[in-house]
């Protein structure tokens, strides 16, 4: 039995090249500019903004001043860290990139090919819709069996903020949400002092499906201003996306490993693949650490996962 021969390997590289070019050309024609991301970041800078990331999984390096660097596990962080310190008000960045991210996966270092899009500094009420449209058009090129899952982090933030949980409880609750463990959530909250938003939080796993289904479930439940704002933003997206595709589901309990998302979050899946192909969202508050809040949004396309799907379709 032959495992990997040069011919097959070359075929794979050509296929990856074509796929990459294909998406790059599409994004270039859509008016995005190309940038080349850096492959390493300062460890402290990175962990500082991404506290939920698994620290053990980062690949560390030392520079000659014994500062700890990591091979980037997330390119967006690098792009913001690169441009924000010298940001000029009124600038607009509309960029795409090809790059690799790195993680320890228990066996060794896993390289992951990514294609990404970022729009930073665009004050346009329709940026969310435009980005989602671009993402949907990319995924639709490669499969008709796709699904977009959209949420809004303001809704959950609205609950969590007005419950003012201790840090430990906050993290534990996020972990439970990540697992969609309904009974454990109820049990956990019952041990904490009661706050009104908890009455909505215990029902959060019912807040998924179509926008109409969610609205129905929300009737009579507690909502504060930030939660309402998140829901309004979602509604606006729903009104727009309805006309583009019906392959959409909403989930208000969506939690991301990257904690900088602030507003719309979304993931795109293709049936038969076991990972998200597209991941993205709005991250205005991320830029705030540099002194001013700039509207920012983006997404990544997981090329390694996408190419697996394409190979599978071919072999059918």
């Amino acid at each position: 039995m032959n495992f990997l021969n040069i011919e097959d390997e070359m075929k794979f590289f050509q296929k990856m090249y074509v796929l990459r070019k294909d998406i790059e050309n599409f994004l270039f024609d859509e008016g995005y500019m190309n940038i080349e991301p850096s492959i390493f970041e300062g460890y402290d800078d990175f962990i500082g903004v991404n506290s939920r990331i698994d620290k053990k999984s980062t690949v560390k390096l030392l520079d000659n001043n014994s500062e700890i660097l990591i091979l980037t596990p997330d390119i967006t962080t690098g792009i913001v860290n690169k441009f924000m310190p010298r940001w000029e008000m009124g600038s607009l960045l509309k960029v795409f990139y090809y790059g690799k991210t790195y993680k320890h996966n228990g066996i060794g270092i896993k390289e992951n090919r990514e294609m990404g899009v970022e729009i930073i500094g665009e004050r346009n009420p329709n940026t969310d819709e435009n980005i989602l449209n671009t993402a949907a058009r990319i995924i639709a090129k490669y499969s008709s069996n796709y699904l977009f899952e959209i949420g809004n982090s303001k809704f959950l933030k609205g609950i969590m903020q007005s419950c003012s949980f201790k840090k430990e409880d906050y993290e534990n609750i996020l972990d439970i949400l990540y697992l969609k463990n309904r009974q454990e959530l109820k049990e956990y909250l019952s041990k904490l002092p009661y706050r009104e938003p908890m009455s909505t939080l215990v029902n959060i796993f019912d807040l998924e499906g179509t926008f109409e289904e969610i609205s129905e479930e929300l009737k009579g439940l507690y909502m504060n201003d930030l939660m309402k704002q998140g829901l309004e933003e979602l509604k606006k997206i729903d009104n727009y996306m309805k006309n583009i595709t019906d392959k959409i589901t909403y989930d208000l309990s969506m939690v991301s490993e990257l904690s900088y998302y602030d507003g719309t979050i979304f993931r795109g899946y293709i049936e038969g693949s076991n990972k998200a192909i597209i991941k993205g969202g709005r991250y205005d508050s991320f830029t705030e650490q540099y002194g001013y809040k700039i509207p920012a949004m983006g997404f990544t396309v997981e090329l390694d996962e996408l190419i697996k799907v394409l190979y599978k379709e071919e072999q059918r």
Partner: protein, 213 residues
Amino acid sequence: MSLTIAIPKGRLGSQAIDMLKAAGIGESIDEKSRKLVFDDEQRNLRFMLLKNSDIITYVENGVADIGISGKDMIMENSADIYELYKMNIGKCKISVAGIKGKKIFKDDTIIKVATKFPETAKKYFNSKGQKIKIIKLNGSIELAPILGLSDVIVDIVETGNTLKANGLEVFEDMYPITAMVISNKISYKFKRKEIKEIIELIRKEDEKYGENN
């Protein structure tokens, strides 16, 4: 759209199969046969009988859409799955046990822990600030302290009879365990309605069981 359901072999599996049959969805499963896959073409369901500890692997990798697995296995593997429903079957505890009456916990000593659940044990003792050395075993854990292989064991305790018969006692209960219905994360997005329907059927039977036991 079809749904693949992973069920553990053994006692927990038998209980789960009884429950599925009572819920009207498991009649295609014949436990006595040596087959491992059973198709219910009418309802578009496929059942797979797997080793208890493999259920998570099948579900996490999307080979099975949903599965029934003990919380002990889920904790040990910290799997990226959804824990959709906590059942009333498979109830037990994961506990620290050792030789009856023997003092184990002293300051600043590394205690030797024999277990099938190294990750769970590490997590627990780490949260207590106790240094440990893990001795990974695959069975007859109770022998380890008796033969001097370890100071304590971390294991599933149901009635405590096995411990008692070997002169051991529970020092501390760590985590309560039950069976759970778990689901693959991506399957859940694409087949949410179907998965929720099945869970609803299981829940009804499981609650009946809970009331009677």
